[in-house]
């Protein structure tokens, strides 16, 4: 009995060490599926549909990567992670990439040895309060109880914000968004703070969303994006360019409906390069020539994904705002594909 346990532990330890070592792209191909870390559930951003499949703005990135590698967006195994478990899951090799509204910061990059491959949502930390409280500015929150997810950058921003404004507060630490929702609605805390997109998503799930307001103050920069482990540049490039191509595709007007057709008829050299009818760009990152065609054809470009899950026509109802293309007054900007 004891001995079997020991053997199992030994086996686990060895697999961990190999996973961290070999080329991730080859490993993923060999396994036949991509292991992707997502959140435990934020409306619009990551949720399970009525068939039990993970959907949302973040899983869409995983699906785009799977489509680029296998030509099949369904070859993803999702691992729900909390704010606490996400980095260990990635570092230990339990997951190949993390797409879970995670903020890009210096210490996560340099100290935790993670590589952020880009930004898929530019966000900022906001506050939500019940309308009945009669609060109109975050500066009026002195002495309030604040629900906060532990293990996040928002926790640190909150401490800094109240300190620099010389206000006191009672932190109510909480593990997941669902728990935060419960505690907030029960009145355990006066305020819920997290990324403004998360607040909008959470509010959309309330019985009466109009009874709650988001305060005007945005107290931090929260660039959210997918990330991988340090030390495998090829793998980082694959994920980085899947994301970039989603953005470039919107810029060039390639979408899931016209991608197939454009690959045959388009005369635009950049479109031809992306869709694999000119040059051999796919091979440079170890993928097939037509990887982007599969990826966009099955998942769609940035705008399609945004509108499908979190845009103004969804219950979440987020405006593009900062996340509009640089040509439309936003800051979404991908390097050229050449």
């Amino acid at each position: 009995m004891k001995f079997t346990k020991v053997l199992l532990a030994a086996a686990a330890a060895t697999t961990l060490s190999t996973a961290a070592m070999a080329g991730t792209l080859d490993d993923v191909r060999k396994k036949g599926f991509l292991q992707c870390g997502v959140s435990t559930g934020v409306a619009g951003f990551a949720f399970t549909d009525d068939q039990g499949n993970w959907q949302g703005f973040d899983p869409a990135v995983c699906q785009a990567v799977a489509a680029a590698i296998f030509g099949d967006k369904s070859k993803v195994k999702y691992t729900p992670t909390t704010g606490k478990t996400r980095f260990e899951a990635l570092k230990s090799g339990e997951i190949d990439m993390l797409a879970r509204n995670t903020t890009w910061t210096f210490s996560r990059d340099a100290d935790l040895k993670l590589t952020f491959v880009g930004v898929n949502y530019y966000d900022g930390q906001g506050f939500m309060v019940p309308k009945a409280l009669g609060v109109s500015s975050a500066k009026e929150l002195d002495g309030a109880s604040v629900c906060i997810q532990t293990g996040t950058t928002t926790e640190l921003n909150l401490a800094d914000y109240f300190r620099s404004n010389n206000m006191k507060y009672e932190p109510v630490p909480i593990e997941t968004n669902a728990e935060a929702r419960q505690n907030y609605l029960a009145g355990r805390c006066d305020v819920y703070t997290t990324d403004a997109s998360g607040l909008a998503a959470t509010r959309a799930t309330f019985e009466k969303p109009s009874d709650h307001v988001l305060l005007p103050e945005i107290i931090s920069k929260e660039p959210l994006g997918p990330l991988v482990r340090h030390g495998d540049d090829q793998w980082a490039d694959v994920v980085r360019w899947v994301l970039n191509v989603m953005i470039i595709a919107e810029e060039l007007g390639i979408n899931s409906k016209n991608a197939e057709q454009l690959s045959k008829t388009s005369e635009n050299p950049e479109v031809k390069r992306i869709l694999g009818t000119e040059g051999n760009y796919g091979e440079m990152v170890g993928l097939r020539k037509d990887w982007a065609l599969r990826s966009i054809g099955q998942v769609g470009n940035y705008a399609e994904v945004f509108e499908r899950f979190i845009g103004t026509n969804t219950p979440i109802g987020l405006e593009r705002g900062l996340n509009a293309l640089w040509t439309d007054g936003g800051i979404l900007y991908a390097p050229p594909y050449r």
Partner: protein, 396 residues
């Protein structure tokens, strides 16, 4: 006879295997070596993997500012304090909930254990239902249940219940008046310990008197009176060096006094009620283990019923009760790590949770948490073992 045979036989290496005793020893040694090799392999593997990942290890981060706030702070702490200090806050919070839990669980457990043996059918059945229910529902669910009850059923601070002057019950916790101590209060503390010393001396004196003359003093009531009255007298002599701080609603929450957080209450109740169910069974088995003949013999000697309980039954029952009670205390302390479920900031939530997460020092933080639990558990168990030795049957 056999010893002589072994001495006479010439030594052969194969004897090591054929002889039962040396074979057993040999197998144990080999098993031990394999185990040590395995541990070394794991440790080596971990260190290598961390090196390959480029992760630095070390405890230097304990001195860095933590950058996060903690809601229940037994000592001065803010977001500029170090991770090390956050760990201390966590340790104190763990000790507070474990200590309070042990006291309440023991009280509840002993009462429930005795009631379970009651001749009253209703009472013993009720206690039976309580024990079976709490023992068979996972503790985590009970913690969440208590938390849910407090947060959902109590009103918001503005409509707080006020069962007595200065006490407010709301879903932000129980706000109660709390003494504010002035420096001169040390005199009262000294008075308290002096009273305890006096009580101990009196007990010895009363014993001697009883041995010599047979005269019996009411030791318990006199000791209690001494311990309670002496500090009170000193308190007034020193000019009342403590004032009560009353809670009041200011803005969003209560300030002043002491606000006991819902997370603490939920955890404390759940741990106590859960562990008390086990303790009550231990107490019941302890009392039932004392043969009825002992009671009859005591009555035959003319001892009164409560003396029979105190002098005959309890001392014998304690011998059966104490060892399993130790493990219940240890269980309660270790179970307090479930605090994380409701966001009570114990050692697992501070250094093992937020600090770990913000610094990424998983191995270091977990090793600290492990060491602390080990220290707390070993301390509890050594104190209880000492007590067990005292009440154990002395065989001559």
């Amino acid at each position: 006879m056999t010893a002589i045979d072994i001495n006479q036989a010439p030594f052969k290496v194969s004897n090591l295997w054929t002889d039962q005793k040396s074979r057993g020893l040999l197998i144990q040694i080999v098993a031990l070596i394999l185990l040590l090799l395995f541990i070394a392999y794991i440790a080596n593997n971990t260190i290598n993997n961390l090196k390959l990942l480029g992760v630095e290890t070390g405890y230097g981060f304990l001195g860095e500012p933590s950058n996060y706030d903690i809601n229940q702070r037994p000592i001065e702490y803010d977001s500029r304090s170090s991770h090390g200090r956050a760990a201390v806050v966590g340790i104190l919070n763990t000790l507070i909930v474990a200590g309070c839990g042990i006291v309440l669980a023991t009280l509840l457990g002993f009462v429930a254990g005795v009631l379970r043996l009651s001749g009253n059918w209703l009472i013993s059945r009720l206690v039976y239902c309580y024990v079976e229910f709490t023992r068979n529902v996972p503790l985590l669910l009970q913690i969440l249940l208590w938390h849910g009850i407090i947060v959902h059923s109590l009103p918001l601070p503005r409509q707080a219940l006020q069962p007595a002057e200065g006490i407010f019950l709301s879903n932000r916790g129980f706000a109660i008046p709390w003494p504010h101590f002035e420096p001169a209060f040390w005199a009262v503390v000294v008075g308290f310990f002096a009273a305890i010393a006096g009580a101990v001396w009196f007990r010895g004196y009363a014993k001697n008197v009883q041995a010599e003359t047979g005269k019996i003093y009411p030791v318990v009531s006199i000791s209690l009176a001494l311990i309670v009255l002496a500090p009170v007298v000193v308190f007034f002599l020193a000019g009342q060096p403590a004032t009560l701080d009353w809670p009041a609603l200011t803005g969003f929450n209560f300030s002043g006094g002491l606000t006991v957080k819902p997370e603490f209450i939920a955890l404390w109740f759940a741990l106590s009620v859960y562990t008390a169910a086990f303790i009550s069974e231990i107490v019941r088995s302890g009392i039932m283990a004392v043969s009825h003949g002992q009671t009859e013999a005591a009555y035959a000697l003319g001892l009164r019923p409560n003396w029979t309980m105190r002098l005959v039954i309890l001392p014998q029952a304690l011998r059966v009760i104490i060892p399993p009670l130790i493990s219940q205390y240890l269980n309660l302390t270790k179970n307090s790590s479930l605090a994380i479920a409701v966001g009570y900031m114990d050692i697992v939530a501070t250094i093992g949770g937020i600090s770990l997460n913000q610094t990424g020092r998983a191995l270091e933080c977990m090793s600290i948490v492990l060491a602390i639990y080990l220290t707390i558990s070993l301390s509890i168990s050594s104190v209880m073992n000492w007590y067990n030795k005292r009440v154990a049957l002395v065989e001559r």
